[in-house]
């Protein structure tokens, strides 16, 4: 990847990835989960991302940690997509943020890492009132689907 990324670990199944954000707010554990799901008879994996609450052991979906490492986190998530699809090259991955602003962050992350992503992945974005299309920079999408080339 062009940007630096955090080192991440994976579960035995390679469905769960974990890394630690480090910044002014301290160290925060981040979890990326690829959940198997089916829609219309098509199997895909939902990319879920959130902060691990160390007290509850659960994911805080709307935590705003502001650790001043947004680009590095996005690059790390992108790296987990590449790692996940390297292990499972035939799968489809769906990604949508918890809020429109977070979906926009995914778009920024894809654009920022496009030179690494484009040779390896088909990326589609869902544009309101238009539907799915091949990813283009500077378009506001509602959701994304990716698959290994």
């Amino acid at each position: 990847m062009n940007l630096s990324i955090y080192k991440f670990s994976a579960s035995d199944t390679f469905l769960d990835f974990e890394f630690e954000s480090a910044g002014p707010k301290g160290k925060i554990r981040k979890i990326v989960r690829y959940s198997p799901q089916n829609a219309g008879g098509i199997t895909y994996f939902n990319l879920g991302f959130g902060d691990l609450n160390p007290k509850t052991g659960k994911i805080d979906d709307l935590a705003v940690t502001n650790n001043q490492d947004r680009e590095k986190i996005l690059a790390t998530i992108a790296a987990t997509v590449l790692e996940f699809t390297r292990h499972f090259p035939d799968v489809i991955v769906y990604a949508k943020g918890s809020t429109p602003a977070r979906t926009r962050l995914y778009q920024i992350g894809i654009s920022a890492n496009w030179s690494d992503i484009e040779p390896l992945l088909h990326v589609f974005g869902y544009e309101q009132n238009k539907g799915w299309e091949s990813f283009r920079k500077n378009v506001n999408y509602q959701a994304f689907l990716v698959k290994r080339k």
Partner: protein
């Protein structure tokens, strides 16, 4: 559910990912369950791009 899915796992190069530190299975976390359900609702409404389904 995973066992029901026939995923072709790559047998290529060994992973660069560290998994010495055990990462737990978050499949039962309510957040990820809800996100997966939301994704299904979205895709059942909007479908998949045809080009994606035909790509190998």
């Amino acid at each position: 559910m995973l066992s029901e899915i026939h995923m072709k796992q790559s047998k290529s190069k060994p992973s660069k990912t560290k998994n010495a530190k055990k990462v737990k299975d978050y499949g039962n976390d309510p957040f990820f369950i809800r996100k997966a359900e939301e994704s299904r609702a979205f895709l059942e409404k909007h479908g998949f791009p045809k080009e994606l389904l035909t790509k190998k």
